[in-house]
Subunit: 176 residues, 2 copies
C-alpha cells in the first residue's frame, strides 16, 4: 500500500491552538495517491454488490463520487441542512457547542438496498452516525462505513461499531 | 448517448415560485446514468493530458472526483469562503443579492498545469468564472469548463467564453 501519510499535509493549530489538522487536499491533488486511495477502498467492496455509495458533504463527495463510479453503484449525497431540493428526512446530532443536522432525500434509497457510507476522515463520528441513522430509517442495509483517515482517540470507530456498523480506514493518526 | 433528461428530476417552484429546479441527485443515484455521464465527459478529455480536475463545491465534487480518478488526474477543490485549512487565494463574485466568495489553496496548482473546470450545472456562470479567475491567478492553463446541465438563457456559457474559456455540456434546458 502507498505511504498515504507522506501525501497528507499536517497543519498545526488549525482550526484552533493544539489541533493538528490533517489536510487531505494534498493527497487528492496527487494523481497517483488519489487513484490508489480509491482503488484500495474499492477493492475491498468489489464483490459486495454495493448498490449505493452514500457520501457525506462536502469532502466525502470527492472520494464517494469516485468510488461509486468505479463500483458501478449510484451516489447518494448526505447533505447539510436545507441543501437538498426534494422532500427530505433529517437527523440532528451534537457538536462540541450546539447541534447540527444532516439530511437525505426521502426517496434516495430503497428498503433493503446495500449501501456503503463514505467520508474522508472519521473523528468523533457524529456526522457518520447521523448519516447511518438516516439511511437505516429508509430501510437501507449499511454494509460498512469507510474513511481514508481515522483519529482513533476521538472514538468515532467505536460509536459506529456500537451502532452495529463495521468500520474500515486506510490510515490512523494516534495522538491527533 | 443516454437520455439524461429522463434521469433528472424537475422540481417546480424551487427555490422560489416560477423556477424549475433541475435535480441531478436522481441521475447520480442511477448507476448506469452516473457512470455514463462520467464516461461521456471523460472520453472527451482522455487525450488532453489533464493534470488536475478542479471541482466546484459541493455537487461539482461528486462529478469532478469521479472524472479526476478516471482521467488519472489530481483533484482540486474550489471551495466556499473559510473552508480550506491552508493558505488560500479568493475571488468575490456577484449574486442576485450581495456577493459570494470562492477560494483555492495557494499551492493547489502549478504554473502551466493543464486543468479542467467541472461542475454539475451552469446557470449564470458566476461561480465558474470566479473559479477560472483563481486558477489563472496561479498560472494554470484551463483547457475547458464542463458541466452536465446548461441553462443557456442565463448566459453562463457566454460569460466563460468571453473570458476565453471553452465550454462543454451534456444537455441543455431551454426556458428554464
Amino acid at each position: 500500500m502507498i505511504d498515504y501519510k507522506r501525501l497528507i499535509r499536517t497543519i498545526p493549530d488549525h482550526p484552533k491552538p493544539g489541533i493538528l489538522f490533517r489536510d487531505i487536499t494534498t493527497l487528492l491533488g496527487d494523481p497517483v495517491g488519489f487513484r490508489a486511495a480509491v482503488a484500495d477502498l474499492v477493492d475491498r467492496y468489489r464483490e459486495q454488490e454495493v448498490a449505493m455509495v452514500a457520501g457525506i458533504e462536502a469532502r466525502g463527495f470527492i472520494l464517494g463520487g469516485a468510488m461509486a463510479e468505479r463500483l458501478g453503484a449510484g451516489f447518494l449525497p448526505i447533505r447539510k441542512k436545507g441543501k437538498l431540493p426534494f422532500e427530505t428526512i433529517g437527523h440532528d446530532y451534537e457538536l462540541e457547542y450546539g447541534t447540527d443536522r444532516v439530511e437525505i432525500h426521502r426517496d434516495a434509497v430503497s428498503a433493503g438496498q446495500r449501501v456503503l457510507l463514505v467520508d474522508d476522515l472519521i473523528a468523533t463520528g457524529g456526522t457518520a452516525v447521523a448519516g447511518l441513522t438516516l439511511l437505516r430509517k429508509l430501510g437501507a442495509q449499511v454494509l460498512e462505513a469507510c474513511f481514508i483517515i481515522e483519529l482513533p482517540e476521538l472514538g468515532g470507530r467505536r460509536r459506529l461499531q456500537d451502532a452495529g456498523c463495521p468500520v474500515h480506514t486506510l490510515i490512523s493518526y494516534e495522538g491527533h
